[in-house]
Symmetry: none
Subunit: 401 residues, 2 copies
């Protein structure tokens, strides 16, 4: 029996409410100029107080040394095995731009690229055309129908787009068309299993038509497709935890991930203040709240240490609004670390805090990576956070007599 | 290979002796009035000394967030995977009252209940009749024989009893008779697999006869049966660890669990002092001693913080008797936490201490939950305690060359 199956057997409905505040890219590394991390630099008295009153630790989203993407990072926070529940790239890209997917749809990541007169790829990214140009070209390709399969094409950013094929009996056992280097022609899509022959044929015909349509749009005169995937079927958080969960997230990717695990989606507005207001407004209607703060991660990805510090201080300033609701259990965590000095996601474990009346105190007084090393949660897997939150909200029955 | 299979391959006989002192429900939570846990409140100089001389940590019996019952809590301490080795409820109830079970026996939990003149359940617990009344009614039902199956009925407490069916080819693939709500008739027992048809028939005939016998004993005029189970077949501790293990426990449940893993059962008397005397008396005859102290858990379950503190102090006062035997390895642990503020078992990790000449020192000076966060054992699974105790007693060979 997997851990999640055990939790499913033991979970029960209780009045307790859980707020999980996910500060994206929460953990950091020291600024070489000061020797202090983003958290150690920020003035965050409310988070410090919460740490002093709760139980703290450091969580590995996937495993020590593994740098997680946003999807595995969040799935682990929701209690799902992030390796077993890996989501196909095409689907992630579609979710990221807020596309609604149905269960038989096949999604793929697309690149506009440049081919020469012999059809050989000279630039796999079509000179990184502007996002506006990408949107314009996607409109040319969008809305085709081939053998009853409807094809949607939507822009992502620069040369990147998403294609969704919707129809009967579409399969994903397909090779990719990207030759992965210049000087070669785009590859034919072929079926890895015979069951996908029909799908390969339709996709190749789509690519041929796209080539014709784009012939006068140099440098974006061809497309490359990869990452064919269907929407995964996960057990929902309602089924596993018997919760009524809702997501409050400004960015489509996180709303999409939340939807995959069964969460309702609240109107979250566009700012941190909007999100905390949405939390208060939705508080009576649900018992699990996933509140996602994106801007810490964006600052970390940009390598902007000071901006990440500022966002942390903004989150801290908004915290009293959350505390005023007096949730039975508060979880503060991150999906992964995004140290500004790395300018990207990192493998470093992520600070996690659980606050509730049945948390056993530890000696931690500061909300920081170093202080949390000595926390009472110790070093844990991110997948263990949900069972702990459930237990602290008195939502798990005893195992065995 | 499971961890236990590895240990079995490596275990060897040596003169070293291991005493495992299990303080039931050991871990606690702060008293809101003082901010101190039961362990932090108790005067326990001998345990503090042992902690200062040993290596300490915090153990999860099943997994973080999971509140263990006594059976999984103890099986984990004995090194058995508590999820794989889950024990059926009927068997646990029988063990709890000290019933001797044979391998083909089927045991079930029973309730006396009240039915109206149409046979519909009006009270699933028969008004919680007194334990004495329960014992009297059990005698009326005890000793039947149906198609050669011998049926024993023994009181547990209030309306609860145990039935054991003993005969050829009895099976447990059965539905339960408890309708789980009032206003419904007790359900017929049916076989989930055809193999259990005969068993279902016998049990239904037993229930019919019980109904006739009890007809004039309102409110206890009917019975409900559930949790049909057979005694599990575990590898013994002799087989796995090559130990000669003995249990010293006042309460039948813990003797029963010890017997399931092959331990001999010592005459333990009725008090803490009796138990420590039994340890000394049996010391020459065995090399592994499971010494079980129940009263910490009972006090915690009653929500009696001060009584739990007092029992801890009594254990501490008895400790010199154990130390005088100079065991090669002393383990002090709990099967689970029972914080008085929770009035029941908790999910919080359990303090564990290992003392022996080859333990690497840590900086811990106090026997407390918070002090043990910084212990050298760190955060571990309770199933890892036995391998550590074995290693410290020089009872495990090297793995690989």
């Amino acid at each position: 029996m997997s851990n999640l199956e055990l939790i499913k057997e033991l979970s029960l409905t209780s009045p307790g409410k859980i707020v999980m505040l996910v500060i994206d890219g929460l953990g950091g590394l020291p600024n070489p100029a000061t020797g202090k991390t983003e958290l150690e630099t920020a003035r965050i008295p409310n988070l410090d107080n919460l740490a002093a009153g709760g139980i703290c630790g450091l969580a590995d989203p996937v495993a020590p040394g593994i740098t997680p993407g946003s999807a595995p990072g969040h799935l682990a926070l929701f209690g799902y095995d992030p390796i077993a529940c890996n989501i196909g790239r095409g689907i992630l890209e579609a979710i990221g731009i807020g596309l609604e997917l149905q269960s038989g749809d096949v999604a793929a990541r697309g690149n506009f690229c440049t081919v020469d007169s012999s059809g050989l790829v000279t630039d796999r990214r079509a000179g990184r055309i502007a996002t506006e140009k990408c949107a314009e070209l996607c409109k040319l390709l969008d809305g085709m129908s081939i053998d009853g399969v409807q094809i949607s094409v939507r822009p992502v950013r620069e040369h990147r787009f998403v294609v969704v094929f919707r129809g009967e009996n579409l399969q994903t056992e397909l090779t990719e068309s990207d030759p992965q280097q210049t000087g070669l022609a785009p590859k034919q899509i072929t079926a890895i299993h015979a069951i996908a022959n029909g799908t390969a044929n339709i996709i190749n015909r789509f690519i041929s038509q796209a080539k014709k349509i784009l012939s006068n749009y140099h440098p974006a005169n061809m497309i490359l497709l990869r990452g064919f995937a269907k929407k995964p079927q996960f057990q929902t958080m309602q089924e596993i935890y018997k919760l009524k969960p809702v997501a409050i997230a400004v960015y489509p990717m996180y709303r999409g991930l939340a939807k995959l695990v069964g969460m309702a989606i609240a109107e979250a507005g566009t700012t941190l203040e909007d999100e905390f207001a949405a939390l208060a407004q939705n508080y009576p209607k649900y018992d699990f709240f996933f509140l996602h703060v994106k801007w810490t991660d964006s600052a970390g990805e940009d390598g902007d240490f000071d901006r990440k510090v500022k966002v942390l201080e903004q989150v801290d300033a908004a915290l009293p609004g959350l505390l005023a609701l007096a949730p039975d259990v508060i979880v503060v965590a991150g999906d992964h670390s995004t140290p500004a000095v790395l300018k990207g996601h990192g493998w470093q474990p992520v600070p996690v805090l659980i606050h509730g009346r049945y948390c056993r105190p530890d000696g931690v007084k500061k909300f920081s990576e170093m202080a949390f090393i000595s926390g009472g949660l110790g070093r844990l897997a991110s997948t263990q956070i949900m069972p702990l939150a459930m237990a602290n909200a008195l939502k798990l029955a005893k195992f065995g007599a």
